[in-house]
């Protein structure tokens, strides 16, 4: 059920991110979401893309360190308090969110959020029960 995130290790140096986006652009891979966690020395780029296998292949071929990570995608109504509601449900169930980021929405009036938790299935069950719509792979494929 979970959606797949493409995780990329980047050295915190000029041009490293541009190289990745350039390679993906040439392959016609569309970016749905993108977030970076950075330190002084390296960054971890997390992306939701239209074609993850294609994206992974081109990056690996170019010597870039990548990993596929499962994350929970949830669709929210675009109104104040929706994300707070999601997080409080997870928090109430003792689920720790390592990181999250929002992403592009093909449906007007909605917002998508990717959540990284330890147990995807558990988080998904909690969110389903609470009446949230989960994002599926087909929702983000091109």
């Amino acid at each position: 059920m979970a959606i797949q995130q493409l995780t990329v290790f980047l050295e915190n140096k000029q041009g490293k991110l541009a190289k990745v986006t350039d390679l993906l652009a040439k392959e016609g891979v569309d970016l749905r979401a993108l977030s970076i966690a950075d330190t002084a020395e390296f960054g971890i780029l997390r992306m939701i893309v239209s074609n993850i296998e294609k994206a992974k292949k081109v990056l690996v071929e170019n010597g870039i360190l990548v990993k596929i990570t499962d994350v929970v995608g949830v669709r929210l109504t675009d109104k104040p308090g929706e994300l707070a509601d999601v997080l409080s449900k997870l928090d109430g169930a003792g689920v720790n969110v390592e990181y999250l980021y929002a992403f592009l929405v093909p449906v007007a009036g909605s917002a998508y959020v990717a959540l990284r938790v330890a147990e995807n299935d558990e988080a998904e069950q909690i969110l389903k029960k609470a009446g949230f719509h989960l994002v599926e792979a087909k929702d983000i494929a091109s």
């Binding site: 995130q5 995780t7 290790f9 980047l10 050295e11 966690a37 330190t39 020395e41 390296f42 971890i44 997390r46 010597g63 870039i64 360190l65 990548v66 990993k67 990570t69 390592e98 990181y99 990284r116």
Partner: protein
């Protein structure tokens, strides 16, 4: 100013007489080694040299060289020249892998070594009236026991502090009124800072001199230490292979270290060809022990690059002086007084599941050495969280610390981001620029 020596007769012996003494000792030492160390006898035989060919210092060049590799090959007993039962002590280099060198001492060898250290202490103004605080490490490392023994020979009151525990060092230094400090220069600098932090002025302590060695240091650092502690700082040199500290030491004129050449004969060679170079040339320092019993080494290549001079010294000592070593001719690093081989770090990387693609950077910040290790991250080690990667860095730093005794900063970097080279890889970048 009254000139002071520990063993005046030898220390100011006229050069011709000194050379005669060296020649007599050398003939005996070569015979001793030839008869008792089969490994070296083989080397001599391969070169077609017998003890009969050695009549004095002028024949020294005929003898084969020894290197650290020979000591490793003969570890642990291969270089021993007396029955083990005659030995009273073992010391060792700081190496923690196959790089360890074990040195053996008879009581005669210990006395000889301690007398050399005593000469250094007296040259620094020490006498039986002094309180010598020894904060070199004690144990297998030669720093602690060498200066400790030397201080005993002088008759000074010896404070066997060993290294570390700065709070206690300062308390004893102030309460017991230590007058001479023996430690690594970086620790002396650190003590200076620590005293200042606690509100002490340089004039508040009772120290008059410090004898600092076991790691490279600069003139700038010397001046800093002298200022912060209100002392005169003296350099001391040695290596476990020859005994330990005290092979050479500075007098009050601080113009190079006098080599105790009645015990250790020094040569400068071209490190590439092995050719003996004339006085004043820069090259690799080679030592021949002259009167050691247990662990005599003939023409031992130190890998230290320096210059020798016989110019007259105002202190009256006739013994040849060596400049501070400018660097090692092989890949060993001295970091915070500890010998570090890149191969040791490599060993840890492999043990911890990393590929041996790494770069070591040594630098100096606030008079203390820093060690940075850059290692490539393998795909299976990559995690999608920052905390996952920093945890890996910490774990690897811990493993390196366990191996070396030095805490490095570990940086995980992208695969293939560390430059590859044909042949011998440049794995080490020493940015300390201690010498021009």
């Amino acid at each position: 100013m009254e000139k002071r020596y520990f063993q005046k007769e030898t220390e100011i012996m006229p050069y011709e007489q000194l050379r005669q003494l060296q020649s007599e000792k050398l003939v005996k030492q070569v015979k001793h080694v030839y008869e008792n160390v089969p490994y070296y006898r083989d080397l001599m035989q391969k070169k077609g040299v017998t003890p009969e060919d050695i009549h004095g210092v002028d024949d020294l060049y005929k003898l084969p060289f020894l290197s650290k590799a020979d000591l490793r090959d003969t570890y642990p007993y291969g270089m021993l020249a007396v029955p083990l039962s005659e030995c009273v002590r073992i010391q060792s280099t700081s190496g923690t892998t196959g790089k360890r060198v074990i040195a053996y001492y008879t009581q005669h060898d210990i006395d000889l070594w301690e007398e050399c250290c005593a000469r250094a202490i007296v040259a620094a103004g020490g006498s039986k009236e002094d309180i010598v605080q020894v904060c070199y490490g004690y144990g297998l490392f030669t720093g602690g026991s060498g200066l400790h023994g030397g201080s005993h020979k002088v008759g000074s009151l010896t404070l066997p502090m060993s290294s570390g525990n700065t709070e206690r060092q300062i308390q004893f230094m102030m309460d017991l009124k230590s007058t001479i400090l023996c430690c690594t220069p970086s620790y002396a600098a650190y003590l200076g800072e620590s005293l200042k932090e606690r509100g002490y002025k340089p004039t508040d302590n009772y120290l008059k001199a410090g004898i600092f060695g076991a790691e490279p240091w600069t003139e700038e650092m010397r001046r800093d230490i002298e200022k912060s502690l209100g002392i005169k700082a003296y350099d001391i040199y040695g290596l476990t292979e020859t005994s330990g500290p005290g092979v050479a030491f500075e007098c009050e004129y601080q113009c190079g270290m006098h080599i105790n050449e009645d015990h250790f004969l020094a040569e400068i060679i071209d490190p590439d060809t092995g050719e003996v170079l004339p006085e004043g040339s820069r090259g690799e320092l080679v030592f021949t022990s002259l009167d050691k019993e247990a662990f005599p080494l003939l023409r031992y290549r130190t890998r230290d690059i320096t210059v020798l001079t016989r110019e007259k010294c105002a202190c009256g000592r006739t013994h040849v002086r060596m400049k501070k070593p400018m660097g090692r001719s092989d890949d060993m690093l001295i970091i915070r007084g500890v010998n570090v081989f890149p191969s040791q770090i490599e060993t840890v990387l492999i043990q911890e599941g990393y590929a041996p693609n790494y770069r070591i950077e040594v630098d100096r910040a606030n008079n203390s050495d820093t060690l940075d290790v850059y290692v490539e991250l393998a795909p299976e080690q990559f995690t999608d969280t920052v905390s996952g990667i920093t945890a890996r860095e910490r774990a690897l730093a811990g493993a390196i610390k366990t191996m070396l005794g030095i805490n490095p900063a570990v940086h995980l970097v992208a695969p293939k981001s560390i430059e590859r080279s044909e042949g011998k890889a440049v794995r080490v970048v020493d940015k300390r620029k201690l010498h021009d």
